[in-house]
Structures are given as C-alpha cells and as structure tokens.
Symmetry: C2
Subunit: 149 residues, 2 copies
C-alpha cells in the first residue's frame, strides 16, 4: 500500500495567532502540516471526488463512471486517503454482491465552500489564462526566431 505523509509531522504554525496583519505568513517549511494537507486535497482526483460526493452518496462504481479517466487503483487510493483524513465515510453493506457507499463527513462538507470558490475562480478566469498562455507562447516563439537568425 502506498503511504503518504510519513515524514515529521511538525505541527508548524499551530500556535501562531494570525491577527489581521500579514494574514499570509503561513509556514513555508517543507514538513508543514498545512502544506501536506494542501497537497493531499489538491491532488489529481480528490477535488473531483469531494465535488461529486457533495451532491449525494455514491457507490464505488458510480464514482468510477462519473470521473473520466480514473483507474480503479487510483480511485481506491484516493478514497482511502480521504477516508483516512476524515473527509469521507465508507460504508460496507454486508450483502452479496458487496455494496460500498461513500459519502462526505461533516468535516468533508466544510470543504465545500472553499473548493467551490477555487473552482469558480478558475471558471471565471480560464479565458484570461488561455489568452495569457497564447500571448506568452507567441512571444517565446518570436524570441526563438530572433535567436536563430
């Protein structure tokens, strides 16, 4: 089984009281809890899973069908992580064939607003970003042209 978060937990910044000045001085140390958790919830599939479960509880296969491109392995790994972090609850119904359902915990549900704002920002600004990329690539191509001459 793959294990993450096995380094020093070093509960950085936990005792720091953020007033209203410099609200952005969160710890940049590598072993910071905040960093680890961000990495976890911002990974390739977690956001998607949380988003889908926000609406309703889903079975393993339903999740797999909804999320385009996820492998069985990665869906399992992702769900285990989320369960371990207390964001998702896993319920096994003792029937055959087995029926396993996933749903958000109350902790998981508190993430909704936050994730939503991130998704909304991305949706609202994707055109700008696409434009910036095109502009950048054009400039880069021209610079290469000049150099090559």
């Amino acid at each position: 089984m793959e294990e993450g978060t096995s380094k020093s937990p070093s509960n950085c910044a936990s005792t720091v009281d953020y007033g209203d000045a410099d609200p952005f001085q969160w710890d940049t140390r590598e072993d910071c809890q905040v960093r680890q958790i961000l990495d976890r919830i911002a990974d390739k599939w977690s956001l998607l899973v949380i988003a889908l479960l926000e609406n309703r509880r889903l079975r393993f296969t339903e999740l797999r069908r909804e999320i385009d491109g996820v492998s069985q392995r990665m869906l399992t790994v992702t769900l285990r992580s989320l369960e371990r972090d207390g964001l998702v609850k896993r319920t096994v119904h003792p029937v055959v064939p087995p029926r396993v359902e996933y749903e958000l915990t109350s902790l998981g549900r508190t993430l909704h607003t936050t994730i939503q704002s991130l998704v909304t920002w991305t949706e609202e600004h994707q055109a700008e970003i696409a434009h910036a990329r095109t502009a950048y690539d054009t400039r880069a191509a021209e610079a290469a042209e000049t150099t090559a001459s």
Copy 2:
C-alpha cells in the same frame, strides 16, 4: 523545457450557466480546462509562490530563500508556468549582476482570496485531520493484528 497543458484545450463547461441549483456540476472530463488550471495552481510550489508575492515583489534569490526546500530548477519552472498563465509578472533589470523581480499581476491578485480561504480551512482543521488519521491508522493496525492471529 518541460511543457504542460499540451493536450486538447476543449473549453468545457464554458457555455454552461450555473443557476443556484447543482452548483457543483463542473466537468469531470480529463481534458477539461478547469481541471488543468486547478492542477497547475495547486501544484507543489505555485501556491507558496503566489502567497509570498502577495505581500511584495521579490527577487529570484529572495523567493528561493523564503521557500524551504525548493530547488533552483523547480523555482524556475514554477515561475515560468505562473508567468505563462498571466499570474506573475517578470521584470529583468538590465544591470550586472542581473536583477530579476517577480510580482503578481492583477489576475494573480484575484487569486488571493481564494487561496487564502483554502489555507485558512486547512489551518482551522488540521487538528481534526491529524486526529482522524491517527484513529484510522489505529483501526488499521488492529485489523491487521486480528487478521494475523
């Protein structure tokens, strides 16, 4: 140079009008713009860089010193991505030794609120998550114990 985002841009969900019902039906397709952008800004270093630049413009070396554990290569790669996405502006002062400064663009600054809410959530709930992990690991260990007997 490493290049990301080279697949089909497929401007998913851009024409969808989100009312107030089902605000979470964002596209789960792999080639979705939103997914790509989220992956980008949620990567290992981007959040950190944006966070630091929120306060003030910084030179390359200053960033490197502030961000514990980042290699020269990854800082460069990250900064280039952010520049390409129009989130960060790079200014080269033609002096020797060279002096290069990075600052957020207005687009980059609009990300601040969003990122802040994510960081705040993480800070507020890191204790809960740590607790959940411990509980999960304990249960897992006990289960392994039982199986082994």
